[in-house]
């Protein structure tokens, strides 16, 4: 090949370090005893243990999905550690008591937690392996009636809310990985926005996998009562290990009448090396239920990491006039594989959904959009607009689009647009002939391509996401 678009080389992964910290790690393997052990460690209420056991028994009867357009060797579920946590002396009362090694780790990841350094308008829940180590701004949020804490704490302090909603949006037997998560989830974030409250700051959870061989199974539950609003962002990184690690999360969102949840993800799990060795298997179930009329759930995701991504953040639009949105940028490089998209299930009248998906494939990666738009029989006057654009960098990458459309109501309207473009040698030459470096050229084209999605991110994170994509592709062309 005479092109300048040569083999794509990844920018060294800057979050690949391991924190040396004493952990409490249970032996590898999964059984009812392990589940009882996890539940006991967290001193959970009875209903939670029963929930887990029920999920585990369902999971045993289920099989791993084979329909995604991804390939990986069979996972040995008995070779995974299902609970790993930094040893802590006592439950810490304030951030000052959090192990400085952990604070330092998060600071290194760009997530300063200490009072002096943290972002002034973003509250952060920091999750390290299986547990939440700190949540900032809790008191300030509590003044508004907003609850933002780890789900473990919520199980103690707000167990009625958790019991009522947990598993109500993603049932325990929804799919193989959701069942596994329901059985063994260790921590995650819980958010409750009471009626009429507009959450005064961005809420954010930062997930960090540290221990080799441990899986991460976090569970997030966000409840927005009538007339409330919250914007929530999650970020993720992991060290570089040669072995694959499983991350199977479940996120459930629910909005009541006139409420809105904006959920953004910047996913940068370790992707494996350029030959596809190591990396995270990111098998995630995310679903939002627009239960109330005029409510809205908006998913924005920037997926740049993981060896394999399998996720379809979805909206179930039950309330009349409710709105679901999905904005996605999925970047794959080297040997990464992504099968990601959304499901928009229109049940109520005059519901609306928008899907904007941008896939960027470089190296020898595979990038698939898979999306379902379903118009139920009672969804009179509902509308969907989908736009799926793919960009190929180089000539060895693959992009696929698998749209599924099911319409049971002839007053609805579904639109689907798709395009494929390529950053080719001639375009790059055009830039260089105008004195623009190849790196700047790629970065300008990628930013332009992703603009519609980045515009949806909270501003601080939009800049970060833009930078992240450029870094991921740096040195990849030329």
């Amino acid at each position: 090949m005479t092109t300048t678009v040569q083999t794509l080389v990844n920018q060294p992964y800057k979050y690949g370090f391991v924190t040396e910290i004493e952990t409490e790690t249970i032996p590898r393997g999964l059984s009812e005893d392990v589940i009882r052990l996890i539940s006991a460690k967290k001193n959970e209420p009875e209903f939670m243990l029963n929930f887990r056991l029920k999920a585990y028994r369902q999971w045993l009867k289920m099989t791993e999905p084979s329909w995604p357009h991804v390939h990986y060797p069979p996972i040995d579920y008995q070779d995974i550690t299902y609970y790993s946590a930094p040893k802590e002396k006592d439950k810490k009362k304030s951030l000052d008591e959090v192990d400085p090694v952990l604070l330092e780790t998060f600071e290194k990841l760009g997530i300063p937690l200490s009072e002096q350094k943290r972002l002034s308008n973003v509250a952060v829940d920091a999750v390290f392996d299986s547990v939440s180590v700190a949540t900032t701004f809790r008191e300030q949020l509590a003044e508004e009636g907003v609850i933002f804490c780890s789900i473990s704490e919520a199980l103690h302090d707000y167990s009625d809310l958790v019991e009522r909603y947990l598993g109500s949006i993603v049932p325990i037997n929804d799919n193989y990985f959701a069942a596994l998560n329901s059985a063994v989830f260790s921590d995650g974030s819980f958010v409750f926005i009471p009626k009429g409250v507009r959450c005064p700051m961005e809420l954010s959870t930062y997930f960090r996998i540290n221990t080799e061989g441990s899986g991460q199974f976090e569970r997030t539950l966000i409840i927005a009562e009538e007339d409330s609003y919250v914007s929530y962002l999650e970020g993720c990184t992991a060290p570089m290990f040669d072995t694959n690690q499983l991350h199977a999360a479940v996120v459930e969102l629910v909005t009541l009448d006139n409420a809105e949840i904006k959920y953004s993800t910047v996913q940068n799990w370790y992707a494996g090396d350029e030959n596809g060795k190591g990396g995270i298997y990111n098998f995630v179930t995310k679903r939002g239920l627009c239960a109330g009329k005029n409510s809205k759930i908006s998913w924005t995701q920037v997926e740049t990491g993981s060896a394999i991504t399998w996720k379809y953040p979805s909206c179930v639009l039950v309330g009349d006039n409710s709105v679901g949105e999905f904005y996605s940028v999925a970047l794959t490089n080297n040997k990464q594989q992504a099968d990601t998209g959304t499901k928009m299930v229109h049940i109520g009248k005059n519901t609306r959904s928008t899907i904007i998906s941008k896939g960027i494939s470089a190296g020898r990666s595979q990038n698939s959009y898979r999306g379902l738009v379903k118009m139920g029989s009672k969804a009179d006057g509902s509308r969907n607009y989908s736009q799926c654009d793919s960009m190929l960098i180089g000539s060895d990458a693959e992009a696929n689009t698998f749209p599924y459309i099911q319409v049971q109501n002839n007053t609805t309207k579904v639109e689907h647009e798709a395009s494929t473009s390529k950053i080719g040698e001639d375009q790059l030459f055009y830039f260089s002939q105008r004195g623009i470096s190849v790196e700047d050229a790629v970065s300008m084209m990628i930013s332009g391509f992703c603009k519609d999605v980045f515009n949806q991110l909270p501003m601080e994170f939009a800049v970060e996401a833009d930078r992240l994509l450029s870094l991921k592709l740096e040195g990849s062309v030329g």
């Binding site: 005479t2 092109t3 300048t4 473009s421 040698e425 001639d426 375009q427 030459f429 055009y430 830039f431 260089s432 002939q433 105008r434 004195g435 623009i436 470096s437 190849v438 700047d440 300008m444 084209m445 930013s447 332009g448 391509f449 603009k451």
Partner: protein
């Protein structure tokens, strides 16, 4: 205009180049001095466009022999972006469409990369905006084009005008216009030619690559070269273009063959 003792801007000696192992340029010689307008004419497949891309550094072509000096410097060892920043500009025969990148951003980054190369401070968005709006006049372009993606959905004529707008901003020392007249109607041709004429100065040089004499009615060259088989066969003044128009290219080739045979 021909100026006595003006600076030699481009000096090409025995240039040979190939693409995928097929030789295209086979010993090309050409000198261009400051202030001059040169036209290279020739039939399809003569290597005209290849020559322009080799000068600009397109990676698909491999130079297999000869040398190119640009203001005394070895041009061939420079990366394409450095050639551009030091003043070599190629107006493309088929300008590329760049979806998602606004024309204004593209122009600003290009302009500032040149400023940076010259050790000047970058222009901020506001100052640049003023500058570009003033330059729009060179090609009578609607400011609305600035907010559109680079060349996306532009008509053939609009793309060519956009090339000249870029040229007006970057103020190159050596402007190479590859078949800039192709696909233009007479009005657009006049606008483009007028733009090029405005930009030609005593301290820069212009190289027109064209198949037809038509463009040369509006941009009058100081020298006309006839190219075929990867070489320049003959050189004359502007009247040579008219002769070519009247007689076609074959006679040049025949004369050349006779000359070669006589040797």
């Amino acid at each position: 205009m021909i100026i006595e003792n003006s600076e030699l801007i481009l000096s090409v000696r025995n240039l040979a180049a190939e693409v995928d192992g097929t030789p295209i340029l086979k010993g090309l010689n050409l000198d261009i001095k400051a202030g001059e307008i040169h036209a290279i004419m020739g039939p399809n497949g003569s290597g005209k466009s290849t020559f322009s891309k080799v000068l600009a550094g397109h990676p698909v072509y491999t130079v297999t022999g000869g040398e190119v000096l640009y203001k005394g410097q070895n041009l061939l060892e420079l990366e394409p972006e450095d050639r551009a920043r030091s003043g070599v500009f190629l107006a493309f025969q088929y300008p590329l469409e760049i979806p998602g990148v606004s024309n204004l951003d593209f122009l600003r980054v290009a302009y500032n990369s040149k400023r940076q190369h010259e050790g000047l401070e970058e222009l901020d968005a506001f100052d640049f905006d003023d500058l570009v709006r003033e330059r729009l006049d060179v090609v009578k372009m609607d400011p609305a084009f600035l907010d559109r993606s680079v060349n996306e959905g532009f008509s053939g004529g609009e793309k060519k005008r956009n090339e000249i707008l870029q040229m007006a901003l970057l103020a190159p020392t050596l402007a190479i216009l590859d078949e800039t007249d192709s696909g233009l109607d007479i009005d657009a041709l006049k606008i483009v030619a007028n733009g090029v004429n405005q930009l030609a100065k005593p301290d820069n040089a212009t190289l027109l690559i064209t198949h037809y004499q038509r463009l040369l009615d509006y941009i009058v060259p100081d020298f006309v070269h006839v190219m075929a088989e990867g070489r320049i066969l003959t050189t004359g003044g502007k009247e040579l273009a008219q002769e070519l128009e009247a007689r076609g290219y074959d006679w040049v080739r025949e004369e050349d063959m006779a000359e070669v045979a006589a040797r």
